[in-house]
């Protein structure tokens, strides 16, 4: 531990700095009344271009991404680079689709995607399914942010042997995070994101200039990686893709992009912005983070070139490949700069963890508490329930990490991406058309969920010797095709979901089953800053007709 003392001091200093900022954030941009979910949960829907850029960037590119993507590249090579096409594809989708969600939410005061589904399809059941899917998918994602911090703490040697000593620093970090999120809401991560991203950009720019210089240039870094993959017996690795994993690469990139913009925390970030132009402009500015992520991914190759050996994992004989990037920094950088790099990763975990817990709390408050437990809840009651829910969510995430094998969180996050995709027909297609019947959407959701979970269960992993939940690459041979190719599970599941939704819609329409009343008007999807908010009471279909 003593040889890491400089790192620990720098890390602790920066961590305390952002904690103070988190508490002060409650006074930042002076809300008139914090006891309202729009203020606590969406930062007053007032964020301009710069804040949105930092907030959404800090939200989508999590600490886990920064640790796990290079770890994947370190282990498998080209297949791990899917993160780049994934984060290129997502912005045009945001630009076209999510902008409509912003407008309709602005008009109706929606806080969550389930709020929208509720009003659009007049179906509390569908809204409940969307809300529960969102909460379940988000929980393990928060837990994974802790895995990101833990990788750093492990490298600094501040984690002891016993269960309590191993987790004590994380419990402290999360307690502080929970306290300031409780107090400041979305303003806390928005403010901290400035520090986080400045540190991350600084660290990565230094890393991609300094490390290749130390390691003999980019050419030799790629050659070293190539030599490792040539020597390894695994069939799937290499500096480029092979014939069998290209379909997986493409479907994973596209499926992950679709999943990411359905995640409640991305939607929370987008809804917090001030107007449509802020979002549209950001779609050209946010890819700066994608470029950063591409460079971060390549740290995996630098780690190969530098001969990094990952630290042992929780179980005997296993390795924790998430430690490769922290170890690379530890070995190659002077210790004060390694401390800054570790703080960047650690703080990088706090921003998304805060936003995710707020998003999950918003879902619980709006779509479970207000819908089922207390229909006449006031704005102040909503805000206080959401604050408590955000605490519960964080305690749950810490419990995940302490009491369960971290591998379990990784599995759940894998599942999370696939189940959140199953809300695509209701949320994304619902923004364009109401043709799909509400009950057909429920049927499609159920079919997609069942198929997705079954496929995940059937995937073995040779490397970790597990028979089930071994990854998201499903061998097509299990469907009876005579091929070694693999495909992303979520992609197949959502295709079935859509097929079932269409078929059942045709049947229900033929049977003239009532499909409720649309609470939104076509013009709502183009509303912008300055358009009047429709009061909740007025969004019932009868009054809507007379008010516009």
């Amino acid at each position: 531990m003593s040889d890491h003392i400089t790192e620990i001091v720098v890390f602790t200093f920066l961590f305390l700095l952002v904690s103070v900022m988190g508490f002060l954030a409650a006074r930042w941009r002076r809300p008139t009344d914090m006891a309202h979910l729009d203020e606590w949960g969406l930062g007053g829907r007032s964020f301009g271009g710069w804040i949105t850029w930092f907030l959404v960037g800090g939200d989508l590119y999590t600490a886990y991404t920064f640790v796990a993507v290079p770890a994947l590249i370190f282990g498998a090579g080209a297949a791990g680079f899917f993160a780049v096409p994934y984060t290129v594809v997502i912005y045009p989708l945001f630009f076209l689709i999510l902008i409509r969600l912003w407008s309709v939410s602005h008009r109706h005061g929606f806080v969550t995607p389930a709020d929208f589904v509720r009003t659009r399809f007049d179906s509390p059941l569908l809204a409940l399914l969307v809300a529960i899917t969102g909460i379940v998918a988000t929980m393990p994602y928060i837990a994974l942010q802790l895995v990101g911090i833990e990788a750093v703490l492990k490298t600094m040697g501040v984690t002891g042997e016993s269960a309590l000593a191993r987790h004590a620093p994380i419990i402290v970090a999360f307690a502080i995070l929970a306290a300031y999120t409780y107090q400041s809401g979305l303003r806390a991560p928005a403010l901290i994101a400035f520090v986080k991203d400045t540190l991350i950009y600084l660290v990565i720019i230094v890393a991609v200039l300094y490390l290749p210089y130390k390691l003999g240039g980019w050419g030799s870094i790629f050659d070293d990686a190539n030599a490792k993959f040539q020597a390894s017996p695994a069939p799937g690795d290499g500096l480029t893709l092979n014939a069998n994993n290209q379909l997986q690469y493409v479907t994973l990139a596209l499926g992950s992009a679709l999943a990411l913009f359905l995640y409640p925390h991305s939607i929370t970030g987008v809804l917090a912005s001030r107007n449509r132009n802020v979002i549209k402009r950001n779609m050209s500015a946010l890819p700066a983070y994608s470029f950063l992520l591409g460079l971060i991914a390549l740290l995996g190759y630098m780690a190969i070139s530098a001969g990094v050996k990952p630290l042992p994992g929780a179980k005997a004989g296993s390795v924790d490949s998430n430690t490769v990037v922290p170890l690379l920094f530890d070995q190659q950088f002077p210790s004060w700069f390694a401390g800054i790099a570790f703080a960047a990763i650690g703080i990088g975990a706090l921003v998304p963890a805060a936003i995710m817990s707020i998003a999950a709390a918003n879902l619980f408050t709006r779509n479970i508490y207000k819908e089922y437990l207390r229909k006449d809840a006031t704005h102040a009651q909503e805000a206080s329930v959401a604050k408590i829910a955000s605490l519960v969510v964080k305690v749950g995430a810490v419990a995940f990490i302490i009491f369960l094998d971290p591998q379990f969180s990784i599995d759940l996050q894998l599942i999370g991406g696939i189940i959140i995709l199953q809300t695509a027909p209701a949320v994304a297609i619902g923004l364009y058309t109401r043709w799909l019947h509400r009950n057909a959407l429920v049927a499609g959701w159920a079919a997609g969920m069942a198929l997705g979970l079954w496929m995940l269960y059937e995937i073995p992993n040779a490397a970790t010797k597990r028979a089930h939940f071994g990854g998201s690459a499903f061998p097509l041979s299990k469907f009876g095709f005579d091929t070694p190719k693999t495909i992303y599970v979520g992609f197949v599941a959502v295709a079935l979901n859509l097929l079932i939704a269409v078929v059942v819609t045709l049947i229900l329409r033929a049977m003239k089953t009532p499909d409720g009343v649309d609470g939104t008007a076509p013009d709502d999807y183009f509303a912008d800053e300055g358009d009047p908010r429709l009061e909740k009471a007025r969004t019932t279909p009868e009054t809507l007709g007379s008010s516009t």
């Binding site: 080209a78 680079f81 780049v84 096409p85 290129v88 594809v89 912005y91 045009p92 989708l93 630009f95 076209l96 902008i99 409509r100 290749p212 240039g217 980019w218 050419g219 030799s220 870094i221 790629f222 500096l239 480029t240 893709l241 290209q246 690469y249 493409v250 990139a253 596209l254 132009n277 549209k280 402009r281 779609m283 050209s284 890819p287 994608s290 470029f291 591409g294 390549l298 076509p522 013009d523 999807y525 183009f526 912008d528 800053e529 300055g530 358009d531 009047p532 516009t548």
Partner: protein, 78 residues
């Protein structure tokens, strides 16, 4: 409400490029030619990021609503 608002614009079709291009692996799944030591697989995909930035910027500029009406609406709101 006067003329109904709309998102429709032929410029939006430009956004198909950054959605489809990064998904065509046969276009970039090569080691050669290398650029600054980066195999084609890596530098081409990093280059696609700039394609995404360029197309979204163009579409944003071309589909932006006239400033005047936005300002007028804001003024009317206050």
């Amino acid at each position: 409400m006067s003329a109904p608002r709309s998102d429709r614009s032929p410029w939006n079709w430009l956004l198909v490029i950054p959605i489809v291009l990064p998904l065509l692996t046969p276009l970039y799944n090569f080691d050669a030619p290398r650029l600054f030591g980066f195999p084609a697989f890596y530098w081409l995909q990093l280059a696609f990021i700039f394609v995404g930035v360029a197309t979204t910027s163009v579409v944003y500029r071309m589909t932006r609503r006239p400033r005047v009406s936005a300002a007028a609406r804001e003024a009317g709101d206050e």
